[in-house]
Symmetry: C2
Subunit: 375 residues, 2 copies
């Protein structure tokens, strides 16, 4: 039986989970309160306000954390907003776009996808053409494609939607971007967004920050059919997360109390540092990593203009056993980096600089470990 | 902003969450590992084995924890086992039976329900009649009905199913029973079961222990349609939780690492105490509570034969403001007890004796606090 008191400290530089703030570890072990305890209800309200700030959401945007990992955020986004036969357009350039197609299809949506080469960004032109030819209820895209290290430009897509007479809902996967780079739901006009706790929020995995614009909420409340997923039904969850007219809360499910302590604390640390200061820290760590990789003659997969700061896909040099390098890093240097996924399996390493991980000392350490491993 | 380092210790004697083992609090704050880290994969295997033991499952039963609270277990049970048009019979005598009807209906099942008065158990005779008249794919029932304090007899229902030529799948909600009273999946012939971590397992809420018999897995794998819930799709989750033929694991979603440390530790504590010793401790605490309540002239809702050990529905005496009593207990005595739900709202208190909470000192404390509050 594994003795958990003797777990090693691994420097988490993969695609997530990232290094966790000490304050968050501490918060996870605070005394559990009841899910209807007056003190816990205050903490819930504070989390909603914190989420609005990191999402840069409008005052009429509904925010709440869902009781599952980031992937439950994707599930909830489609389960709540889609009814059978609804038309959906997904912009695909990596694993998480592919997953959106799968999730929406299972829920009975009529799904079209525009595919872009993995490692390249979503482009506006084919999206514009598609949207002129057909009316969609919802357009889904991934902000930070963790599988390839591409930052997809959201604003150009949002501006195309603005030109349409009956604007489709814009759904944005912010799992890896939130807290590490600007996410501006209100300014961009994003209607549905979700994230995960274990990337740039530097909390362990287990919760999905979630946001719906007023327009999305209105459409949700006007559904003709019940949300087919009771557990993630936002029409019911909102009655627990928002005090009603009479100040009452309606029990839905028992919230994951201690994980919410962790999220509350992570968001406090992030907002105390300041969003802009945090983005600058991610940017500096990225620049340092890129320079160091160049010094090691290692190439990045993605063009500089579209590189994610917090997830760097590094091409595996010819003749190198990529899995062996990861094993040496993990066993000898206590560092985790990620493997490639899908068509990029075996071809890239994925080095994460997410949240608390994005610090100069960590970058220096992984570069030195890579240098020794590749020698 | 709430300071989490100053949260009070509340004695949790409601319907869950229950008091958390110190070792579990400690485990929650252990260093986060990657979800594919070799050490974490060992911990996963150990959790599956621990779950098989507490569920008293057969060796060919699939067990794993799902990445959501107990309610996600109910969602997963129906989402995986039901296809549109499937016939389902639900035995309803409280909130969680009502919820099953809702969950199954949303997934397109053809749902029949047999309703029993809240506070009374499920009876065999009407079930037998119904099952003779119509063929059902699945029969669902709640083992420990937390909303009323009734222990439903599972074995008589299972034996009725055994007599049918094409045995329906037996689905059992074990959210409140697991770890606190005998749950014998193999002996009873339960095909689908789920629980939550925050009841008799004394871990914070956030995970759903889940089990499928071989027969259920075979039916799942033979589905005609994809599971309509990507996040909880057990056909994919099993590829992450079970090492495949080549020893490989397929990433599905990032597992809630630290919560799983908590579950691993809680199950270790429970199995070290011994299941039978734990059940005896619950039984002794229950007897002590019942005696003390009688001394205070307080009555229980449920007949002795069908009382749950770990959830005691106590009738609110005439003329007493039940909410005021709960407030006094919470504010002056730092004890949480639960209110009634649905038709029992305002009529009962619910006093939980779950897991670590089920100890003589705690029972004494709540009885003394009740005595003072009712004076």
């Amino acid at each position: 039986m594994t003795t958990l008191t003797q777990l090693p400290e691994i420097l988490l530089m993969g695609p997530g989970p990232s290094c966790v703030y000490d304050e968050v570890y501490e918060a996870l072990s605070r005394p559990t309160l009841g899910h209807l305890d007056p003190l816990f209800l205050e903490i819930m309200d504070e989390i909603r306000s914190q989420l609005s700030q990191v999402f840069q959401a409008g005052s009429d945007t509904l925010t709440m954390p869902l009781s599952g990992t980031g992937s439950s955020g994707m599930e909830a986004a489609f389960a709540n907003m889609i009814e059978p036969g609804d038309t959906v357009l997904i912009l695909v350039n990596g694993v998480f776009g592919v997953r959106m197609v799968d999730v929406a299809g299972r829920l009975g949506a009529e799904v079209d996808a525009i595919e872009f080469e993995w490692g390249t960004p979503v482009l506006s032109e084919p999206v514009q053409t598609k949207l002129k030819a057909k009316r969609y209820k919802l357009v889904g895209m991934v902000h930070a494609e963790t599988s390839t290290g591409v930052a997809n430009p959201v604003e150009p897509i949002a501006r195309i939607l603005d030109t349409l007479p009956d604007r489709p809902l814009l759904l944005l996967d912010c799992v890896t971007s939130l807290g590490g780079m600007p996410v501006k739901l209100d300014e961009w006009g994003v209607d549905i967004a979700y994230s995960g706790t274990q990337k740039c929020l530097s909390c362990p995995p287990g919760l999905a920050p979630f946001a719906l614009s007023k327009r999305a909420v209105d459409q949700l409340m006007a559904r003709k059919t019940k949300v087919p997923n009771w557990y993630l039904d936002v029409t019911m969850l909102v009655k627990y997360w928002e005090a009603g007219g009479g100040g009452g809360r309606v029990y839905h499910h028992t919230a994951p109390i201690n994980m919410l302590y962790g999220l509350h604390t992570a968001l406090r640390v992030i907002l105390e540092e300041g969003l802009e200061a945090g983005f600058a820290r991610h940017s500096a760590a990225h620049d340092q990593l890129v320079q160091g990789l160049e010094d090691l003659d290692l190439e990045l997969l993605v063009d500089p203009e579209y590189r994610l700061l917090m997830l760097n896909a590094v091409k595996v040099p010819v003749g190198i056993d990529e899995a062996a390098v990861r094993r040496v890093l993990r066993q000898h240097h206590h560092i985790e980096i990620g493997a490639g996924l899908g068509p990029l399996a075996g071809k890239v390493w994925r080095i994460g600089l997410m949240g608390h991980t994005a610090r100069a000392a960590n970058v220096k350490r992984v570069l030195e470990a890579l240098r020794l491993s590749l020698d």
